[in-house]
């Protein structure tokens, strides 16, 4: 027992990541031209938990967020892991070109930052950063965020309110700039793991065609968001 304690102490001492509580200011900017973000989830957590990983199938909690913008499942999962969460800093949707800033106080040991939010209008697209190591040195740190496809739903690009997990369709187009009558781009998802989103197809017919999305409005290229973390 004593030996165990000694080992534990040494491990703590050797750890280069001195696990101290930190004050973070996190700015999230929507870099896209025509995509809205659903309520954003920012979380500081330990290395015991991971929200997503490219090449690995999405968890049901991530699927809820990616298909319908519902972050409650991820929050429950993170709470159980003693994470520090900031939910919905923009008080709703974050429009193209807009930014939101939030403060996040982290507990000792919560040295990784993850941020996720769904892209609307998409079937299961989300912007995400997973387990970014929070610097211990005070300063301002910026990085770009890519758009992922959760791999849980075919990108049919039909706006029909389908936001629940497993329900085919796009829940909403907040810009009120989508069409109707799309026959559906596809019914297949070739890569069922989390992967880089290939982008929406769209078309130039707002009352018919394959897609309800507008190919002059709803496309994007990576990066789709920028995050600036200021460590106080």
């Amino acid at each position: 027992m004593k030996l165990f304690k000694a080992v534990a102490t040494i491990t703590l001492l050797c750890s280069s990541t001195v696990s101290i509580a930190q004050e973070l200011e996190i700015e999230f900017t929507n870099l896209t031209h025509g995509i809205h973000y659903t309520p954003i989830l920012m979380s500081a957590h330990s290395d015991a938990i991971s929200l997503f990983s490219a090449g690995v199938a999405a968890t049901p909690e991530l699927q809820m967020m990616a298909e319908g913008g519902d972050i409650s499942g991820l929050v429950t999962m993170l709470d159980a892991a003693n994470a520090n969460n900031m939910t919905n800093p923009a008080n709703g949707l974050l429009a193209p070109g807009q930014s939101t800033t939030a403060m996040l106080s982290t507990d000792e040991g919560n040295t990784y930052l993850s941020v996720v939010t769904m892209l609307l209008p998409t079937n299961d697209g989300f912007a995400g950063v997973n387990s970014w190591k929070i610097p211990t040195e005070a300063g301002s740190y910026s990085f770009n965020v890519n758009a992922y496809d959760a791999g849980t739903e075919a990108n049919n690009e039909v706006v029909n309110g389908g936001g629940a997990p497993g329900v085919l369709g796009i829940p909403a187009a907040p810009g009120m700039d989508s069409g109707t009558g799309g026959s559906g781009v596809t019914t297949e998802e070739a890569n069922t793991t989390v992967h880089i989103h290939r982008g929406s197809l769209g078309d130039d017919n707002l009352t018919a065609g394959k897609s309800d999305l507008d190919n002059t409005v709803h496309r994007w290229l990576n990066p789709v968001a920028r995050i600036t973390v200021t460590v106080k």
Binding site: A190, T192, T193, R198, G199
Partner: protein, 241 residues
């Protein structure tokens, strides 16, 4: 790495000093002189693991090529592709890249990496510390797109250290992006791979992505599923020895 190198340098210096001492003693005319046994140098192995994850939706990757080199580049923006790279980018055949003159050592992935899948390729070299590493693989449902990196420095990488990076897609510039069935070798088409004719810009550039038939390119054999955005690969390079 620097530290290791210094240590071995120091011990070499010590051995040399001893050698000088022995020589001086021998010059002293001692009858008890016996030749020192020759100590063969311990071979130094530099070994790396390159893990590649395919981040695309529907672009299988040709077998990954990994080369260690001290000079040159596997590819450079604005510079004409080598024939070896042209082969890799148009047909997915990495054999010429692996055998390239600049390669001190090389290794190939065992096979195609499907979307969402990963593979780790090991490469090692004895006695020569490699300065650079390059990696490339073709996105096979394209005319001549590939992803990877060229000439990443290994100089300061210590054993156990790793570097993770996300790589974009490049156009080898050696084949027009017609997207026709006859010209794309991947499973979406089954067409021709390598063709020596260079009917495109003949410089390596970033790739603009595929258009696809669904997006209005009537002659394209590709569907919306084959479209891609950057990054296309997640690559981790780790020095293991």
């Amino acid at each position: 790495m620097t530290v290791l190198y210094k240590q071995s340098f120091t011990s070499t210096a010590i051995w040399s000093a001893l050698g000088v001492t022995v020589l001086l003693t021998a010059c002293g005319g001692s009858d008890s002189y016996a030749p020192q046994p020759v100590i063969p140098p311990v071979p130094v192995i530099y070994s790396y693991e390159v893990s590649v994850t395919n981040l695309t939706h529907a672009q299988p990757l040709s077998p990954v090529a990994v080369i260690l080199h001290n000079e040159g580049e596997l590819f450079e923006i604005g510079i004409s592709a080598s024939v070896a790279l042209e082969n890799l980018a148009e047909s997915g055949d990495n054999s010429q890249v692996l055998a390239d003159d600049i390669a001190l050592a090389s290794a190939s992935g065992v096979g195609v990496i499907m979307p969402g899948m990963s593979e780790t390729v090991s490469v090692s070299i004895t006695d020569t510390q490699p300065m650079m590493i390059s990696t490339a693989a073709m996105l096979v449902n394209t005319n001549d797109a590939f992803s990877g990196f060229s000439g990443m420095s290994l100089e300061n990488m210590a054993v156990g250290e790793s570097i993770s990076l996300l790589t974009g897609s490049y156009d080898s510039g050696t084949e027009k992006n017609s997207e026709t069935m006859a010209t794309i070798p991947g499973p979406a088409a089954g067409g021709e791979g390598f063709n020596a004719e260079r009917d495109d810009v003949d410089i390596v550039t970033m790739h603009a992505g595929v258009i696809s038939n669904d997006d209005g390119l009537v002659q394209s054999v590709l569907s919306q599923a084959h479209r891609f955005d950057n990054p296309t690969l997640a690559i981790s390079v780790k020095r293991v020895e």
